[in-house]
Structures are given as structure tokens and as C-alpha cells.
């Protein structure tokens, strides 16, 4: 690998790193909250709410992210009520915002399944005890159900974070220049295909490693009571 090429490729790909981080950060933030909402809907007694959450996750998990992205970016602009709504148009008209929306909606579906599993693993007795102690519904959720569910769900959620980081690469297909977008451009400019792949791939591996380490640290922090008793 020539030094000149590295000197040329690394700054360009680092420029993309910021965009990839932005796409990941915002879509995870939005997606986690949506996913939590969907998981609660799925577990609610209301058949309409749980049915909606179920179909939502089936549709978003059953179709490729690329199709969702193209449908939102190219397709939605055709609908007149989207065109007329200022807010919706603001989201759709820009590649980055549209990619964030698609990624957030997509990761919300997967997150809802993960959190649902976590919430279902909370023993009913604990919730009943909290109820008997006179905790309100919200307090019960905040103090008992959510903290226990998140401990159960964290390892699977770490995998989902990695999938979201990988998903951000698809934003390059709708004109967003993030790591993969720049990498493709560099590949066709320099013909140093493997070298560019190696640098871009290393950047993604570093992002994923950092995220996984953070999740592990959070997990260790939440599970510190077990480490002490051992």
C-alpha cells in the first residue's frame, strides 16, 4: 500500500466518519424511543395497539432497508399531502434527514422486538409487589420494569447497534456522502479498490468496537451487584 494513497484516502474517509456518526447517533436516539413505545404498545391489552405494533415490526423487518429508503426518498415525494406538509417535506427533501428517518423507523422495529423480550422476562411477582407497595403505573415502569428489561436486552441491543451502523452505509445510495459514499468515489478515482476498502472497513470496525465496548461497560455497570456477590 502506497503512503501517498493513504495520505489521500484517510482525510476523505474521516470526513465521512462524522456523517456516519451523525446518522447513527440520531437514528439510534429516535429509534430507541420509538422502539420502546412500540414494545409497550405490543404488550398492551388494547388489541388495536398491539396489532399495529405487530404489523409494524413485521413490515419493517420483512423488507430490505434499501427498499424502505428508496420508497421514502423517491416515492413519498409523489404524494400530494406530503408535498403540501412543510414538516414532512423538510424531512423527505434532504438525503441525510431522509436516511435518518428510514434508519430510525427500521431500527425501531428491531428494537421493539428486543425490548419486548426484555419486558416479558421481568417476573410478574416483582411488578405485583411494586403494585402492592402502592407505586403508580409510571413509577413501576421507571423503577422496576424498565431497569430489569434493559439489563436483559442490552446484549441483543448491542448487536442491533452494529446493524444500524452498517445500515448507515445505505445512505450513500441516496446521495449522502458518508464513509461508504466517499469510499465508492475513491475506488472509482484511484482504482486502489482493496486499499480503500481496508481503510473504510477499519473505520467501521473501530466504530463497532467502540459501541460494543460501551455497551459492555454499561452492562457491567448495571450488573455490578452480581460482580460483587461473586
Amino acid at each position: 500500500m502506497e503512503l501517498e494513497l493513504i495520505q489521500r484516502a484517510v482525510p476523505v474517509l474521516l470526513k465521512g466518519l462524522g456523517v456516519t456518526a451523525l446518522l447513527t447517533g440520531v437514528s439510534v436516539l429516535v429509534g430507541f424511543n420509538l422502539g420502546l413505545g412500540l414494545a409497550l404498545m405490543r404488550l398492551s391489552e388494547n388489541r388495536f395497539l398491539s396489532g399495529f405494533a405487530k404489523y409494524y415490526s413485521t413490515v419493517f423487518r420483512g423488507t430490505p432497508l434499501l427498499v424502505q429508503l428508496f420508497l421514502f426518498y423517491y416515492g413519498l415525494g409523489q404524494l400530494s399531502f406530503i408535498k403540501n406538509s412543510e414538516m414532512a417535506w423538510w424531512v423527505i427533501s434532504d438525503g441525510t434527514r431522509c436516511a435518518i428517518m428510514a434508519l430510525a423507523l427500521n431500527t425501531a422495529a428491531y428494537t421493539s422486538e428486543i425490548l419486548r423480550g426484555g419486558l416479558m422476562s421481568v417476573p410478574a411477582g416483582l411488578v405485583e409487589a411494586a403494585q402492592a407497595a402502592g407505586m403508580s403505573r409510571f413509577l413501576r415502569f421507571r423503577r422496576i420494569q424498565f431497569p430489569l428489561a434493559i439489563r436483559q436486552a442490552l446484549p441483543a441491543y448491542g448487536n442491533e447497534l452494529v446493524l444500524t451502523v452498517k445500515g448507515t452505509s445505505l445512505a450513500s445510495t441516496i446521495t449522502v456522502l458518508e464513509i461508504t459514499g466517499y469510499a465508492k468515489r475513491l475506488m472509482s478515482q484511484t482504482f486502489a479498490i482493496f486499499e480503500v476498502f481496508a481503510i473504510a472497513g477499519a473505520l467501521y470496525l473501530i466504530i463497532n468496537l467502540v459501541l460494543i465496548t460501551l455497551v459492555r461497560m454499561l452492562e457491567a455497570h448495571l450488573m455490578r451487584h452480581q460482580a460483587r456477590s461473586r
Partner: protein, 235 residues
């Protein structure tokens, strides 16, 4: 008919989309099978910690599972185009951008991705086979190959079915990515239709529905396979 549903019918796009869907399924199936072979081989290496090879397999699975699929597809397509064109011109073929070539590279790319996920599933399934079964087989004097074929493989496949279902779902969705390098599969057919009729909404919606149908139908199939294997193991 507002969003060009009539145009889809009139222009004969339904045929193009169905042909695309057939190619999507073909790529997905071929890649899944290739991935399964890779996955069983690499899974065995990882499970048995075959010394120098297990590091290579570790590197392969962590790179492929940590790097975006799109980047891997770009790598394989762009680097092979150069290579294959050189070989082809040496043998006297001029135009090589035909679909047979794109299909092969697509299967290799998606198969490599699918193989990395299969490896983890196979390794997990192998890990859950009780050690005593293998020891018992060894005590009976079965040869290594027969232990694999009669004890390890049947149990492993049964345990791996739910995991393989997940791998299949990921694989079939990943085939959409090869559309960006020009293979005429479902997503590409929708893309071309969207471009030439200027009705992207209906085309991508149809593509989404077809993908959903593929994943839902195969989900039913896998559920049935799982039930079948469970019943047989109870006997």
C-alpha cells in the same frame, strides 16, 4: 390508479418485477447454500479450534459481520470487474458485462456475507451438542467421519434451524444490495420501472410487498420445518 397502477399493468412491468423476484430468490438460495457450506466448514473449525485456521475464520467472521454489506459488495464487484475483464480479453471475449457474470459475483458476495452469519449459527449449534454423545460414539469405535455424519450433523442441523431462518431472512434482504451494481433482480427491476415511468412510489411499494411476501412465506416454511424436526426428535 392515481400513482400509476395502470401504467404498471399497461407497460408490462408486472412481468419484469416477477422476473426480478425470481432472480432475487435464485441469488438468495444460491448464496444461502454457498453460505451454508462455508458456515459448516468454518463453524467446525471454530468449534474444534483447529489451530492456525481458527484465527483466519475469526478474522473472516468479525470483518464481514462488522463491515457494511455494501462495502463488501463494492470490493468484490469493482476488483473482480478488472480481473475478469483482463482474463476475458485474454481469451478473446469483448463484452463481459452480461448477467451471468453479475449473477456469479452477486452469489459470491452475498454467500460470503451469509457464510459469516451461518458460521456463528453452526458454531452455536455444535456447542450445544452434549459432549457425552461424541464420547459415546468414540467409545463404540466409530470413525471420525461417521461420528460427524451420524452424530454431529443430524443434531447440529436440527438445533441450527431457527438460527438458519434468521440467516435466510438477512440473506434475502441483502440481495437487494446487489441491485446497486446492476444485477437485474427485484430491486433493480423496481428501480428501472420507477425511473422510466416516473412513478417511484408504486414501484418501490410493489417491491416492498414482494419482499414481504418472500420473507413471510419462507417464515412459514421454516416454522413448519422446525415443527417437523421437533416431532421427529420426540419419537
Amino acid at each position: 390508479m392515481e400513482f400509476g397502477l395502470w401504467q404498471v399493468w399497461e407497460g408490462g412491468w408486472i412481468g419484469a418485477i416477477l422476473r426480478g423476484a425470481a432472480i432475487t430468490i435464485a441469488v438468495g438460495t444460491a448464496a444461502m447454500l454457498a453460505g451454508l457450506v462455508v458456515g459448516i466448514a468454518c463453524g467446525l473449525i471454530k468449534w474444534g479450534r483447529v489451530f492456525p485456521l481458527n484465527y483466519i475464520v475469526d478474522a473472516y467472521t468479525s470483518v464481514v459481520r462488522g463491515v457494511p454489506e455494501l462495502l463488501i459488495i463494492y470490493l468484490l464487484f469493482f476488483s473482480s470487474v478488472e480481473f475478469v475483464t483482463r482474463v476475458a480479453t485474454a481469451f478473446g471475449y469483448a463484452g463481459l458485462a452480461d448477467s451471468g457474470y453479475a449473477f456469479t459475483i452477486a452469489v459470491i458476495a452475498i454467500g460470503a456475507i451469509s457464510g459469516a452469519y451461518s458460521t456463528e449459527v453452526v458454531r452455536g449449534a455444535l456447542g450445544s451438542i452434549p459432549k457425552g454423545h461424541i464420547e459415546a460414539a468414540r467409545a463404540l469405535g466409530l470413525s471420525g467421519w461417521r461420528i460427524f455424519r451420524r452424530i454431529i450433523l443430524p443434531q447440529m442441523l436440527r438445533i441450527a434451524v431457527p438460527g438458519m431462518n434468521n440467516v435466510w431472512q438477512v440473506t434475502i434482504k441483502d440481495t437487494a444490495l446487489v441491485s446497486v451494481v446492476g444485477l437485474q433482480e427485484l430491486m433493480r427491476a423496481a428501480f428501472i420501472g420507477a425511473g422510466s415511468t416516473r412513478n417511484p412510489f408504486i414501484f418501490y411499494l410493489i417491491a416492498a410487498v414482494v419482499y414481504l411476501m418472500i420473507t413471510l412465506v419462507s417464515q412459514v416454511g421454516f416454522d413448519r420445518a422446525e415443527r417437523l424436526l421437533k416431532v421427529r426428535s420426540r419419537k
